[in-house]
């Protein structure tokens, strides 16, 4: 049975982008996000852009017409922190308390870009666990199967990052095309630097080994970058009689990063990272944020005006735990209340978005978002937190994130409310190219999916 399901998945995986360049979806319910919901209207897509949207719009004669009766059109979902398309990347995971889920089982090819770490770092001068000069756009492998998987969940756009080490590299906003050339996919090549406080594997046993070492290292890098800039500027002004500043790609990498992403799951970490970001004077986005259900956390985020990406990998009880062990009240409370964080952030007026945190499988994502909705987030706000909100946070709301004339034609067409159990995503448009998601391996109502990749191999 399971073998058959896997075979089906493989066959359906070859859903291809279809050829025409002008589409019209008519008589559909349109959730524009930027404006009111259109109960019955038409979206015209032309040359990859949204040409028109409204109740009464003329359908161009060359358009392929799709009957939208009984269907809903949404803006394509944006994953604001992802590793899709990056070879060998582990899915971005801010949460150390959560268990490693299915996402982590994605087949990984060894990364070729990781610097050899045979020597143990003896201090910050050795630039340990640092590849901040890497730009995701340069690393993308169009053959990554995850592009298709996450597109089936409704994602048309991802902000994808190299995430290994402390300074992983610069993220790029990409459209999830199954194209030939990675360059076609890129909306913005560099949006910011991914910073992690856990060293990850493969970097040898040197400095830093403790959290305070990592923090100190990051601080030193930014001090060095400021000094480097100063010396470089002085040299550019008048090189005569002055020692030539040594080229440092690590410092170049952080200088060219527009913003930084810092991990903070617990309230204590949010407080720590918000202070740290202010000290570093870097435009910052926090990621993780499970304890942002706590009033102190929303207060802090408001005070600092820092946007936050909330991980959809909600904390869960550890699997196979000793039944005698009882978690602390705080841990239990966080597991119970974390999914209410988006609703509370919404209410408090904090800029936030939701990110998959490696939940690649459509069903897992749907369930995770549903949890936030069940905990008080309105449907439209949930969709906004995965469309327009991330677009605004990254400054690309002028091209993606909502259904508006002139924006990129990234659309999701469903047969019901997005994130409902029975709703099927029927079509996904990326840059105006139509994709039909592969059928799900396990039919609905059979209990938890067991379609972890590689389960039978």
């Amino acid at each position: 049975m399971k073998k058959l399901a896997t075979a089906l998945l493989v066959v359906c995986a070859y859903a291809s982008a279809e050829a025409p360049s002008t589409f019209a979806i008519r008589n559909a319910r349109i959730v524009t996000i930027s404006g009111p919901i259109i109960a019955k209207g038409t979206v015209v897509v032309k040359h990859g852009l949204i040409d028109a949207v409204g109740e009464n719009v003329a359908i161009p004669p060359e358009a392929w017409v799709i009957d939208g009766e009984g269907k809903t059109v949404y803006p394509g979902l944006i994953d604001p922190l992802s590793t899709v398309g990056i070879p060998g990347a582990a899915p971005a995971a801010a949460t150390t308390t959560g268990r490693g889920g299915r996402g982590a089982a994605t087949p990984a090819t060894p990364a070729t870009q990781t610097p050899a770490a045979t020597e143990r770092a003896r201090g910050p001068e050795d630039r340990p666990a640092t590849t901040c000069w890497l730009i995701a756009a340069d690393e993308i492998q169009t053959s990554d199967r995850r592009i298709e998987t996450v597109r089936a969940a409704g994602f048309t756009t991802a902000v994808t990052f190299p995430t290994r080490g402390i300074f992983g590299g610069q993220g790029s906003i990409i459209d999830l095309l199954s194209g030939e050339k990675p360059g076609e996919m890129v909306l913005v090549p560099s949006v910011g630097q991914y910073i992690s406080l856990s060293r990850g594997g493969g970097f040898g046993g040197g400095f830093p080994s403790a959290l305070m070492g990592t923090i100190s290292y990051i601080r030193q890098i930014y001090l060095d970058a400021a000094h480097y800039q100063l010396v470089k500027d002085a040299y550019a002004k008048d090189p005569r009689g002055m020692a030539r500043p040594e080229y440092d790609r690590a410092l170049e990498g952080v200088i060219e990063s527009k913003r930084i992403l810092l991990p903070a799951t617990r309230l204590v970490e949010m407080d720590r990272m918000l202070r740290f970001a202010a000290e570093l004077k870097q435009s910052t986005i926090l990621y993780g944020a499970h304890e942002s259900y706590r009033p102190e956390a929303t207060e802090l985020l408001k005070k600092y005006g820092v946007p936050v990406l909330v991980s959809l990998r909600w904390p869960e009880p550890p699997r196979d735990a000793n039944p005698e062990d009882v978690d602390s009240l705080r841990t239990l409370e966080t597991r119970d209340k974390a999914p209410s964080a988006p609703a509370l952030l919404q209410k408090a007026g904090v800029k936030y978005a939701l990110y998959s945190d490696g939940l690649d499988q459509p069903r897992d994502l749907q369930r995770a978002v549903k949890k936030a909705i069940d905990a008080g987030l309105s449907r439209e706000d949930a969709i906004r937190a995965l469309t327009l909100a991330p677009a605004q946070i990254y400054g690309v709301a002028d091209r993606v994130g909502s259904i508006e004339k002139g924006k990129i034609a990234n659309l999701v067409v469903t047969n019901g409310e997005l994130f409902d159990d029975r709703t099927k995503i029927e079509m996904v448009f990326v840059d105006g190219r139509k994709y039909t998601p592969a059928a799900e391996a396990a039919p609905a109502g059979r209990g938890p999916a067991t379609d972890g990749p590689g389960g039978d191999r």
Partner: protein, 455 residues
């Protein structure tokens, strides 16, 4: 409605109530510096406002009946490793002065509350002893419920950890150091000689670094516009040590290494503020006193490793008699909860008086940390950091009833005990809810197989 809500909020508040005016009445007050008397202490605006056998009760003051009870200054632990996230040792390098406990304070560490329940109001949170020169440190007040910044003992001189002997040289052993794995490249130093050399080398660097900055500052003062030197987070704290702006707290055991460190400090012109553990301090107490270093030791904890064999429980008393300011510390989250009885042992071993013994966990650590103008004794004008015990506080049988920090009650035994059923019920509710959710998600007749493992 609002009143009920307020009352409820007050009842469930984790954070303690704001500083009120208190009068602690009819207690045996052990001031440490002003003798012991039966009487009252008035607390106002976070400070000790008045004390004596009879005091005037200010209007609106809350009276705490101390009849039959003992009031002492808050206990100060000069050597603790609680309340820090993500590791206490940056053990990858032999000089880790670039790291700072300040960056990783975890105000939600339950050990804080437990220390508080043991009468501790201030603790010096030290970096570990994996390296010759360790990380930067600072004293915290155990203000349970406050955020990380709210824990910091404001205005206290920051410190830095040094370590001598087995711990810093062990990682240099290629057979496996603190990390244990033979695959890990050996870290210099591997001998006691190497430890000394590491410290000297670091201060040679720090002196050169200081000279660069002094030169830069002189140029700026002359109106020039030079490019500043690179700021080096490893050397900044050592420069501060040379400038007397940062205290050195040095982990040590043996008499020879203690003398070594005092001489190194003399050579480079800085002071060792405290010697930590210092189990053989009794052998070189005169030299320690002459240098002006404090000694922070255990009451009777030794023989856990070779360099800790030649210790005696009279250490604290003998050093005191030679003129060293001695404190007793915990170095441990559990021991931290009964430092009062640790102090009591100094009366048995070495015949210290009650006051002398109590000073070893209050006034003396305050002196060592340079905060005795604020805490360490019960005096008018000092911070109202106070502990009320039901029995003679140096006894094993004494239990902490109330702890005040800055005039705010942070621990109240009655409230703690009476609040437990409600907390337990809340916990049980969450556990039950989680179980229900799990059962709902589980398919009929099967177990939840998320992730598809184990098939």
């Amino acid at each position: 409605m609002t009143k009920a809500k307020l009352l409820w909020a007050a009842l469930i508040a984790i954070a303690p109530l704001g500083a009120e005016t208190f009068v602690i009445k009819n207690a045996t007050v052990m001031t440490v510096t002003r003798g012991t008397f039966k009487g009252s202490v008035v607390v106002k605006d976070g400070k000790i406002a008045d004390m004596g056998e009879t005091v005037a009760t200010p209007a609106g003051a809350t009276v705490i009946d101390g009849t039959g009870q003992y009031l002492i200054p808050g206990i100060i632990d000069c050597h603790s490793h609680i309340a820090a996230d993500g590791g206490i040792n940056e053990g990858s390098v032999s000089v880790s002065s670039m790291v700072d406990i300040r960056d990783v304070i975890n105000p939600e560490d339950i050990a804080i509350y437990r220390a508080l329940a043991g009468g501790v109001t201030t603790a010096n949170i030290l970096h570990g002893s994996a390296n010759a020169i360790g990380g930067c440190t600072l004293p915290l007040k155990m203000r349970w419920g406050k955020d990380a910044q709210g824990m910091i003992f404001e205005g206290a001189t920051p410190g830095i950890k040094f370590a001598l002997g087995e711990n810093p040289k062990r990682a240099g052993n290629p057979q496996g150091g603190r990390g244990g794995a033979a695959t890990v490249q050996a870290r210099y130093p591997a001998t006691r000689m190497g430890v000394e050399d590491t410290i000297r080398e670091a201060f040679n660097e720090a002196k050169a670094y200081k000279a660069d900055w002094d030169e830069y500052n002189a140029k700026v003062a002359r109106g020039e516009h030079p490019i500043p030197p690179r700021k080096d987070l490893k050397l900044e704290p050592l420069k501060e040590v040379l400038e007397g702006k940062r205290f050195v707290h040095a982990h040590c055991y043996r008499a020879d290494e203690i003398l070594m460190l005092l001489r190194v400090a003399d050579d480079y012109g800085f002071k060792i503020r405290t010697l930590q553990h210092v189990l053989e301090g009794y052998k070189v107490a005169k030299e320690i006193a002459a240098h002006g270093a404090g000694a922070s030791t255990f009451s009777d904890w030794w023989s856990y490793k070779a360099e800790a064999f030649d210790a005696i429980p009279y250490n604290a008393a003998l050093m005191t008699k030679k003129g060293v300011v001695v404190s007793l510390n915990s170095d441990d989250a559990e021991l931290m909860r009964h430092l009062n009885s640790e102090a009591g042992k100094a009366m048995k071993y070495g015949g210290m008086s009650e006051t002398e013994a109590l000073a070893m966990v209050t006034l003396n650590p305050a002196k060592q940390l340079g905060i005795d103008n604020r805490v360490g004794s019960i005096e008018v004008g000092k911070d109202a950091d106070l502990v009320l015990y039901d029995k003679f506080p140096l006894s094993d049988y004494a239990k902490v009833q109330k702890v005040l920090i800055d005039g705010t009650v942070y621990f109240d035994r009655d409230k703690e005990v009476s609040g437990r059923p409600a907390k337990q019920a809340e916990k049980q509710k969450l556990i039950d809810k989680e179980k229900q959710n799990q059962q709902r998600q589980q398919p009929r007749g099967g177990r939840a197989t998320q992730g598809g493992q184990g098939e």
